[in-house]
Symmetry: C2
Subunit: 360 residues, 2 copies
DNA sequence: CTGTTAGCGCCTTCAT
DNA sequence: ATGAAGGCGCTAACAG
């Protein structure tokens, strides 16, 4: 016993290996392996001895070794801005559920919205040999981003993995990605139309950052609805702000120091709507009596707002599930370069929209 | 070239390996490895050739092989009931941040509150060789659970990993675990005291499941406050329900079909408080004019309730960070069997508590 | 400076 | 029914 585990079981600290078990049971390593796999004949007596050793030594297989051999636990990776956002959380949940159902493990990484961290994360996930790498949520859509992502997508594809864009626009048909979007522009069009149909003509579009894909699309829907109703677009009625509740509140309070030249607000996000609602209320403006309010996302907390928020439902959980399903189901050989799913959105009518009130 | 990757680069589909790169650069495998590690002298010319090959072949190291060799990317695993709960999400965020800061990857598993899935998950995480396995949130605290967990903790400990109980009571001093709790009972005591100090004597304790550790502790704090104020405990004023918003609403509506024999409600959770608030409001009862309301958790959406909820702040994110910190910082040799952190809670006073209103 | 050798833990032939 | 051998991809020792 010069080298290491001399005796009857494991001596050194660290994980129990097949060798330890084999020693203890007085058999060879492959025999133990076969008992575990159970797909090969083993004498009943031997089997029992091995099983006892297995139990006594509390053996667990080493996934890394298995992965190296080719057949290890597969994993699905996802990268998001922030787990705390209700909509992201919903997507994450969908991914989890579907991945677990298919016997996959989930790796998570939070990028904080920083493209560099996102890139770094993708690299790590690639090292891990993730079967799919899912990118969740909005992004600054510039040329650098697109070319980098295209390169990454190709790399992943070549190593048998898959880049999935979830709630983010495609990179182009040539790029081997799976894209799972929802009808972002359509939802914005629908809810803005709702506001316009109720008689509103001065609709403040509030929140978001035009450089972000999500904002841009929602803004586009807003503008298209305006055009459909023959209402001129007024840049003064587009107020950029963050997607974050607190800042939206502050920004709206700021806006209210100027004359109120709108009768309705389209908040680009439910969280923004919450902030807007608070600012409005504190300013003595009733919703929907004085000002109508619409949101976007239909996250659970929106139900607790008073009045209950009329908003656009986005199937976030389904988005996550679909992402996993598509990425995993594509036949490994046939490299259909482009998979694309577009999920529908719809307006959920609650209590925050009313007819416009004529103002002095 | 009889076997496989004969020629200049990688021929077979799948990941690029060191061997592929070595072939392409016309050097041996270890040389490539050294160029990558950069901790060993390599001729500049060779180095350049290798680097080019590396780039051209888009090489990424295989974490599993590295892990097998001993020095791979470490990972931290956490298991929770549901990512969608704001408080869980906060803990998850804290874990992420701290783990990433320390160069660890995160594995996540959603158990849906099912103890069996939790057990299964721990097994998977153990196979992965996770450095720490963090269990988040409340649990059904029976004997079976305790003994099973103790066994798992010991197993993990022996393989150099660590079981971390986060927001969940310890298993006993003998069990090698890291426990990161918050002062659950104390927070409940404090906020109930607040209600009692405001003059309330009939306080309905609403929501939760007494079999769950979290509920039990909060209920205990409630009772202790009652005792401190010399108010007799009335079992009729404890209403079990779920922790879930929607069900809480329904349960409260049900309760309101009976006579209103309380002047204040202590909701065991902010989500429950939201449901209760809605039921109360719809029943024509004003908060806090008619009924005072207190919550627990201080999750962000609580700010959007009207009136803004007075509640107990729980440092969830800090809980997550601390869990990672403790688990990773303990000196590997010295097996201090028990690590225990107890984080403080405090009441956040907002607008949902007022003096009791004398009722007919 | 570079290549050869060995071995991490597992599983899959192949040969008893 | 069982053991011996080989190799997954990588890196640390040991030659040269």
């Amino acid at each position: 016993m010069t080298t290491q585990n001399g005796g009857t079981g494991k001596a050194s600290p660290g994980r129990t290996t097949l060798k330890d078990v084999a020693h203890r049971a007085g058999v060879s390593v492959p025999t133990v392996s076969r008992v575990i796999a159970g797909n090969y004949p083993v004498a009943t007596a031997t089997k029992r001895r091995v099983e006892r050793a297995l139990r006594e030594l509390d053996y667990v297989a080493n996934t890394h070794a298995r992965a190296l051999r080719g057949q290890g636990t597969k994993t699905v990776a996802f990268i998001l801005n922030d787990v705390r956002g209700p909509s992201f959380a919903e997507v994450a949940h969908g991914i989890q559920e579907e991945a677990t159902r298919r016997g996959r493990l989930c790796l998570v990484f939070v990028s904080g919205g920083d493209p560099r961290r996102e890139l770094e994360a993708v690299g790590l996930m690639r090292q891990q040999g993730a079967e799919a790498v899912i990118l969740i949520g909005s992004v600054h859509d510039d040329e650098v981003y697109r070319s980098r992502m295209a390169a990454i997508a190709t790399s992943l594809d070549q190593s048998g993995s898959r880049l999935v864009l979830c709630g983010r626009p495609p990179l182009g048909d040539a790029v081997p990605t799976t894209v799972v979007e929802y009808d972002n522009e359509g939802g914005a069009h629908a809810i803005t139309s709702r506001l316009l149909a109720a008689g509103h003509r001065r609709v403040l579009c509030f929140g978001g950052d035009a450089a972000l894909t999500t904002s841009a699309e929602r803004l586009a829907g807003y503008r298209r609805a305006l055009a459909d109703f023959g209402v001129a677009f007024d840049p003064g009625l587009v107020e950029k702000a963050t997607f974050e509740r607190g800042e939206a509140y502050l920004a709206m309070r700021q806006r209210l120091t100027r004359p109120v030249d709108f009768t309705a607000v389209f908040a680009l996000t439910d969280a923004v709507a919450a902030g807007v609602l608070r600012a409005l209320t504190e300013h003595g403006l009733g919703v929907p009596e004085d000002i109508s309010l619409a949101g976007y996302d239909d996250v659970p907390p929106a139900t607790d707002l008073r009045p209950r928020l009329t908003t656009v439902h986005v199937p976030y959980e389904e988005l996550g599930r679909t992402a996993v399903r598509l990425a995993l189901d594509r036949s490994p050989g046939a490299d259909g370069p482009d998979q694309h799913a577009l999920l529908g959105t719809h307006v959920v009518v609650r209590d925050s929209i009313g007819p416009p009130r004529h103002r002095a």
